[in-house]
Each structure stands twice: as C-alpha cells, then as structure tokens.
Amino acid sequence: MSSTISHLTREFVLTRSYESRSATIGIIAIGLLIVLLAQKELARGSRTPRSLRVLDVAIGPLVVMFFVIVTVRLLHLVR
C-alpha cells in the first residue's frame, strides 16, 4: 500500500466492476479531459507556451486514462 494504492482504493477496485467504475469516475475524468482540451484550444492564441504546458500536466495522463478505459471496455465487449 502507498499513496497510489491504499486499502480503500484496493477495496473499491475489488468490489466494483470496471464497467461501474468507468461509468462513474471514468466519466468524470473524461468530462474533465474534454473541458481541459477545449480550454487549451480556446487559450492557444492568448497564452504563452509555458502556461499551456500547465494544462498538459493534466491532459497527458487523462489521455492515457481515456485509452485504458476504452481498451478495457472494448475487451469486455469482445469477450
């Protein structure tokens, strides 16, 4: 156990299906990703490259999360 995987997160993963988690918290994360991508596009003309990089701090990992969610759900569908 660590800050990343605690007793509570472990219980949450083991007691809830991936469909349930991705349809609740996953949706929140994907919604956040869409808002941040829109914010980045809107701000592209008016902000410095450095400040746009701040948005990338959240956008990069959320994109990885998005692809994991889609891949796992597709695999569940195929099975």
Binding site: L8, A43, S51, V57, M65
Partner: protein, 271 residues
C-alpha cells in the same frame, strides 16, 4: 539551504495570492481525502476533478495579473499542485481487476510519472537543476538503507496480505522493479522533488512540514491512524534528508526499499 536558487526566491509578500491558492488547494485535497473515507470514491473524484479545473483556471488568471518572471513561478507552482488530485483520480480509475495487484502500481504509476515530468517542465529551469547523483554516494546509500527498517515498521502497523504467494524469483524481481520505479521514484519525485520544492519557495522551512502533512493525508485511505502518523513522520524524515543533502536519489531508493519490504519481503518472511 543557502543555494543560489533560494537566494533568488521572491519576497514572501509577492507570493500572497499564490500562497492563498496553494493553501486552499492543499485544504481541498485534504477534504477530498476525507470524503473518500467518509462518503465514498465518487464524491472524492468530483472534488478532485473540480480542483484540477480550478487550478487550470487559476493558472490563467495568475498569469494575466503577474509579471513575466512571477508568472513562470506561479504557473509552475499550480502545475505541481495539480498532481495531487490527479494522483487520486488515477488511483481510482486505472487499476484493472484482471491485472495483478503489483501491476496496478504500474498502471497508476505510468501516467502519474508522465504528469510529474510534464509538471517539472513548467518550473523555472534552476528549480529542476537539483542533481540526483551529485551528492556523496555513501550518504545517499545510508539514507537509502533506512528504507529497510521503515518497511518493517510499516508492515507491523498494517500487516498487508501477501501480493506474491511464493518466493518465486522472477516475480519478486519484477515486483521489486515496479515498486522502486512507480512507488519509490514516482512518489518521491512528486512529494519531495516537486511539491516540497514549491512549498519551500512559498512558505520557507514550513514547506517541508506541509509536504509531509500532504503525504500523510494521502495515506488516510489505509484507514489506520498509526499508518497515517507513520507516513507523516517518514515524510518529514525524507523531506529533511532532501533539504540537507539537496539530492533525491537516497530518499527515492529508501522509499522503494520501504515499499518492497512492506508489500513483498516482510509478508513472506514474517507472515
């Protein structure tokens, strides 16, 4: 520390607005962790997502109002603060039940490490110039070895179940590598390398205690007051080591050894 980097720090008065934003963010992270325990993961995720969005907007506003030099510091600080809600969102969504529990650390750790690298790129270059390997190797090795007894203490407090059922060498080596990279290095780069760095810039020496407090709060998911206290004391010790030696390598390895002992070694040897 009396480095040139710290000598170049702005007077505290100029940080007023940024300090308020940082304190509000840390309080919100604490609130989200409390919600995780008291209400559930969904409530915590909503608060963490809202905080991420608020920090992104705050970066925009602070940049417009601050001068060019201050804007670099402000945006960098906010980028580092974004890592905390991001950590929790990733830990709730990324683990997949079909993967091994050791694999969960990698699933959460890969995007988190990516975020840490992206956040480091937003900081002033002199802040991230702190070399990991330039301090005396013997001292860093001594710091690293403290991870062994710390791992035993953590195990005795929580007594986690075995993640590897038998002492199969391949699994132990692979598991150890995952824990060193995605727990030891990733968490230390986040909490001591970046968070403590920006909090020290804002609050002076109190930044070490603040970073340790945030680290302890992130352990409330263990549901053990003893473990939260242990995390706080360990965070203070690691923070002090980094402040004294100005190097991260020792604490990264110590944290890795702590995690290996806690999750892999001590459950096999003691359990």
């Amino acid at each position: 520390m009396s480095s040139g980097v710290e000598a170049a720090a702005l007077p505290l008065a100029k940080f007023g607005r940024l300090r308020l934003v940082a304190l509000a963010s840390l309080a919100t992270v604490g609130g989200a962790e409390a919600l995780l325990v008291l209400v559930g993961p969904l409530a915590a995720a909503v608060v963490d997502a809202a905080l991420l969005l608020a920090l992104a907007l705050a970066a925009h506003l602070l940049e417009r109002r601050a001068g060019a030099h201050e804007a670099v510091r402000a945006t960098g600080t906010l980028a580092v603060l974004m890592l905390l809600p991001l950590l929790r969102l990733l830990s709730l969504v990324m683990p997949v039940r079909g993967a091994s529990e050791l694999g969960w650390y990698a699933l959460v750790g890969v995007p988190l490490l990516l975020a840490v690298v992206l956040a480091a790129r937003t900081l002033p270059p002199e802040w991230t110039a702190q070399a990991m390997f330039r301090r005396p190797a013997r001292l860093q090795a001594a710091i690293a070895l403290t991870g062994i007894p710390l791992g035993l203490v953590a195990y005795l407090i929580l007594r986690p179940a075995e993640l590897v059922r038998s002492a199969e060498p391949t699994r132990l080596v692979a598991g150890s590598l995952v824990l060193v990279v995605f727990v030891g290095f990733t968490e230390e780069l986040l909490f001591r390398g970046l968070l403590q760095r920006v909090l020290r810039e804002l609050f002076g020496s109190a930044g070490i205690a603040l970073a340790a407090a945030v680290y302890a709060v992130s352990a409330v998911g263990s549901l053990s007051a003893g473990y939260v206290l242990f995390a706080g004391v360990t965070g203070l010790f690691f923070g002090w080591c980094v402040a004294r030696t100005r190097a991260l390598l020792g604490v990264c390895l110590a944290h890795g050894l702590l995690a290996i002992g806690f999750v892999l070694a001590w459950p096999l040897l003691w359990g």
